[in-house]
Amino acid sequence: MAEAVKEKILAVATITCTIDGQQITVPKGTSVFYAARQIGIVIPAFCNHDKLKPVGACRMCYVEIEKMPKLQVSCATTATDGMVVSTNSQQVREGRKAVIEFTLINHPLDCPTCDKGGECDLQDLTFSHGYDDSRFGFNKMRFIEEEKRDTFDDLKIGPEIVLNRNRCILCYKCVRANKEAFGEYDIGAFERGDLTEINATPGGEVSNPFSGNLVEICPVGALTNSDWRYKIRVWLTKTVPSICNFSGSGTNITFYKEDHKNFVYRVTARCNDAIDDGWLSDITRYGYQIVNSESRLKTPLIKKGGKQVKASWDQALAVIKKHMGEIKDQSGGVCIGGLISPSLDNASLYSFSKLFRTIFKSNNIDFRGDYRYLPSVTDSPFTIAASQPFSIADIEKSDVIITFGTDLIREHHNEYLKIRRAVNFFEATAYSVNPYAVKTADIAKSEMVYSPGTDELVINGICLAAIEKKLVDSSAAAKLKPKISKLSLSELTKQTGLGKEQFKELAEAISSAKKITFIVGEIVARSLERDKICAALSNLNKLFGVQDKGQLAVLSRYANSKGAQKLGLSATPYEIVKAELKKIWGEYPDCQPRNTDSMINLMKKEEIKGFITVGTNPMRLYPDRGFASEGLEHVDFLVACDMFETETTELADVVLPLCSWAEYDGDYINLEGKVQTGKQAIKPKYEAKAAFEIMELIASQSGVKLFENEQSRNEEIEQLLSLNSVLPWPDDFLEIDYDKKSSRDDYPVPLFICDDPHHSGHLTEKSPSLLNFSDSAYVELSKGMAAKIGVADGEPVRVESPVGKIVVPAKISRVLNSDVAIIPRNFSSTQTTSLLMRKKRVDSVKLTRVEE
């Protein structure tokens, strides 16, 4: 908070004050609490939190200020020029003792059974600042449920949160964080005075996507995690710093692990103000449980006679050598293809690329197994847009933030929290422009919902509106106008469903912004016409000069997508990367590069005979299950490396167990381009191996050593990462074609397949805590849509598309207000991607009620 305040307020306005005899100069507006912290004096407090507004409820942070007769609370007092503060005088010490005494009079003697013991703020502060005996003498207040008159008054208020109201010291941190930082209202304070209790809202439960943070900020054991409950005492664990592997932000986390059992016990935040502010989404917090899961692949499997049997590593590698060798000798390396997960670390990605390009001599690799019809051109507008620089910390400094084509609560949780912080604390304005109403628009000044499939027309509309209102440079306007004027502004309003005033509002906001952040997300990245949309964005950028006064980028979704791009993992890497690879390796295969779509096509035609997948599940996640299964079922030899048995490993001839990211040191590049290291927490479980090790073993089967040693590998990676891999936008304005939207009346409802807010990819299904939040697929509908079909919440709905059909329960959404259907893709029990057709711009389905 102090840093952000520093940058927001002009550096010129500072004041000097004296704290405990030391002089310090701080920016104007800093509170005495943070001024003292800057010289290393830590004033004790319960209810103060860096990222929340001060509330002065606990009264623990007293200080004595000259010329003020009463003790002042330092979290609420702004430091002024010439103030003389003393934080340790006799009066202050007596005051703190009194507050601890008051706090403890109704606090139960639960320390032996309380999970917070050992890391409890109340324990620590009582020991350092309190009395050592009590003169209360009465019966303590107890909150009890009539039905369970037992000794232990624990209430389960959410799938993962247990509340004990007796222990609560009413610092209100949970309520404030929930409201200010996350924008949720499912926990609150009820009653008054000393009968005040914190509880979930009546009839509800605390299950928002950030609910785990409430447990972490509770200073006592009132809110505890169900998955940490009675597991181990915190002083018996060790901590290891790491990086979250489920999202592109690269949230900093800490593993708590124990060596004797080789077990990871929990994940907490490791506050990094530039990325996450210390808040973790629930996926980050509970996703680590897949590491401990009992159902992990323990040994390699080999398919013998139609069944997969356990085998040893040597046997599995021998089979790979035999088959891959045959394919390579008979048909050449171009008949081998590979797909790797973008969540793996740099070393694994680079080893994969080197294995294919130098040993198999094929360009058939890709890292985006869940995107349809990706371009095979290195400088398509989408590739350029995805390579642009982005800084999460700059979101706070922006005064206009526009999110386009992204449902942040499902994809980029930490960016949503940063936007909330910018709007609440730093008076930014946010606009949300999406094909359906999203939850994250609750802090937006206005939300614009356009008709699905008209994304580039919206951007054109903004440019046209700006040209009409003369908000931009006229020469640029004259150059752009003929290229986007196939449809006039009023026709655009008809096509997109937005009004002229809305286009004008956006145009004004962009042009008058001092610093702007323009975020483009997965809805655009997954769309068939992503290139067209990014071409329109290129025009917008050039017209308004967005990147001169801010940032515009397509955010990468996975933990190391940026790393994969920089290390040349796509079939057609950037030119500069290609040149560097040629320099390092001395050679570069000149065969036709093939991305995922082409590879699956060729597998179907039996021109690709061998396929290796590492950490991905294209059967479940590729947006056209029919197409993917045709390819993968036809291929002669399939090798699948994964942590669990999935739909893809079922088809494989050889299955190799993969390590999770917690079991080896790895470098990950987040969506900003920052390299962060996740350290090894536990030794690899069972016989799993890291991906780079597997690549080296496969290479050594052919008698070639991939790298001399670890150091040479790291050096090669360093060489690649030191290149400037930001592609420049095209110089001229691009022409945007307009193709008429076709709609099939018998499949009227547009469908969006995305992640559940509590899940990411195909692995989080194995985490028991995340399954407590949502454990099976559903179709999310607006109230109006549900009424049209005639279903209530939870009733089964038949979802049909031209190629597939599923039956899922309906879920009525609080935010959706148009006729769309949203289905999550993370559950193996429902084959959601069988509804999709990869060549369609907007997938559409028909919804009918299932009669009993």
Binding site: K70, L71, F102, T103, L170, A189, G193, D194, T196
Partner: protein, 444 residues
């Protein structure tokens, strides 16, 4: 038509008395109707202000008159109005604090039920002075009749063009909303009231930032008591010098006092500030002496948040400074009189039960401390007191005083401290002999 609140006032004595004004027409049955109010010269000040005065001039006039807040704090009203930043682009709000929950005080209720239009007029003038176009009147939920009367008065004012758009053709818009509370003493506190209107729990907020800079929905807000606002039209009509001529030098004007307790004529009385408390209790026109002919034991001069006064201090002028010198506070003017057969411990138990029930629960000393104090005092009253209990009470009171967010903590503790100082022997008797010093307890 019956009066809803059958409270005795000294209106008949003052009808025609040119100094006392708040209760001038309060005995008139039809005063609450707009027609009668206009006949008595109503809304003339509002017309004057809109037609001839600028907002700064209004603030100057009120400052000159020396009007001080009548809700309890006694802060000069004109100075409070001038704290609103003139160049702030944000909307301003004026809130009328009609959440009269201080035990012993029932003066605002009379004004709202019998003379609601003067309140509306005062609010309107205040709103104009600070540049506000939407004002709220926050009335306590239990005052059904006051709410009815004020709402009806508001509708009448709207229908006849005293509120609404383009009032009297001056181009000024003013809207009013009546908001009812739901039974919390804390919502009578400034920041609690603001939180309540925003829809949150009625808990206090830390100050700074002060409501005049950042209040309701983070806009500049002024919160004034009903009585202060009711005096404003009279100031505009008769001039600031007239107001200053009443009362004392530092405490100008008149005040309503609600006299209750062991008194022969309980009721609401309007007197000039500086009036002698002894006269208020004993004079035949006012209190007419202690009931049952007993002797005086203690007086609470300003509602139960103020320290008790011993009988030797009773001859004190009723104004802000003199009472502070005597060791108490003027507060909201609810004078409670206790005769010699009242047990002090029993009285204090009643008060601390109230404060514990009404504490909002935000800051630790008030929330836990009032509960602890109640348990100790209950123990003493039941005859189970221990020898170190008085020391404990002193220590706990010292730990709460001045250490809380809002003055409720101080209000809970100051009466206890004053009784421990002046009637310590009675407390001691309770502990040693396990019964009351005086003959009997009885119900009010």
């Amino acid at each position: 038509m019956t009066f809803y609140s059958p409270v005795v006032t000294n209106a008949k004595e003052i009808a025609g008395h040119e100094k006392l004004h708040l209760f001038e027409y309060v005995e008139d049955e039809k005063q609450y109707q707009l027609k009668r109010y206009l006949e008595h010269g109503g809304y003339a000040a509002w017309k004057t202000v809109l037609g001839k005065m600028k907002p700064e001039e209004v603030i100057e006039e009120v400052k000159k008159s020396g009007l001080r807040g009548r809700g309890g704090a006694g802060f000069p009203t004109g100075m409070k109005w001038s704290f609103v930043p003139k160049d702030s682009p944000k909307v301003r709000y004026l809130l009328c604090n009609a959440d009269e929950s201080e035990p012993g005080t029932c003066k605002d209720r009379v004004l709202m039920e019998r003379d609601p239009h003067v309140v509306i007029e005062g609010m309107a003038i205040g709103a104009y002075a600070i540049g506000c176009h939407l004002m709220f009147c926050y009335i306590r939920g239990e005052f059904h009749h006051s709410i009815e009367r004020i709402e009806k008065a508001m509708e009448e004012a709207y229908s006849k063009g005293h509120l609404g758009k383009n009032i009297y053709g001056s181009g000024y818009d003013l809207e009013m909303i009546v908001h009812t509370g739901a039974g919390a003493y804390m919502c009578g506190e400034e920041t609690g009231l603001i939180n309540s209107i925003e829809g949150e729990k009625g808990m206090a907020r830390i100050r700074p930032p002060f409501p005049a800079i950042e209040g309701l929905w983070e806009c500049p807000t002024i919160v004034n008591n009903v009585e202060s606002l009711a005096a404003v039209p009279h100031i505009i009509n008769r001039g600031a010098d007239w107001y200053r001529s009443m009362g004392t030098e530092k405490s100008a004007g008149t005040k309503l006092f609600s006299l209750s307790g062991h008194i022969n004529r309980p009721g609401n009385y309007e007197v000039e500030l500086g009036f002698s408390l002894q006269k208020l209790i004993y004079d035949a026109n006012y209190g007419n002496g202690i009931s049952d002919g007993k002797k005086l034991k203690a007086v609470i001069p300003g509602g139960v948040s103020t320290p008790f006064l011993t009988p030797d201090k009773v001859d004190v002028p009723l104004d802000y400074e003199s009472l502070t010198e005597a060791g108490s506070m003027l507060g909201s003017g609810g004078v409670i009189v206790l005769h010699e057969d009242t047990c002090i411990v029993w009285t204090i138990l009643k008060l601390i039960k109230f404060f514990r029930h009404e504490s909002c629960g935000k800051c630790t000393p008030c929330r836990e401390g009032t509960g602890w104090l109640e348990q100790i005092i209950q123990k003493i009253e039941d005859g189970r007191g221990g020898p170190d209990d008085l020391e404990k009470l002193d220590s706990i009171c010292g730990n709460i005083l001045g250490r809380t967010i809002c003055p409720l903590g101080d209000a809970a503790v100051m009466p206890i401290q004053s009784t421990l100082k002046h009637w310590r022997d009675e407390w001691q008797y309770h502990i040693e002999h396990k019964k009351c010093l005086v003959n009997q307890n009885f119900g009010f």
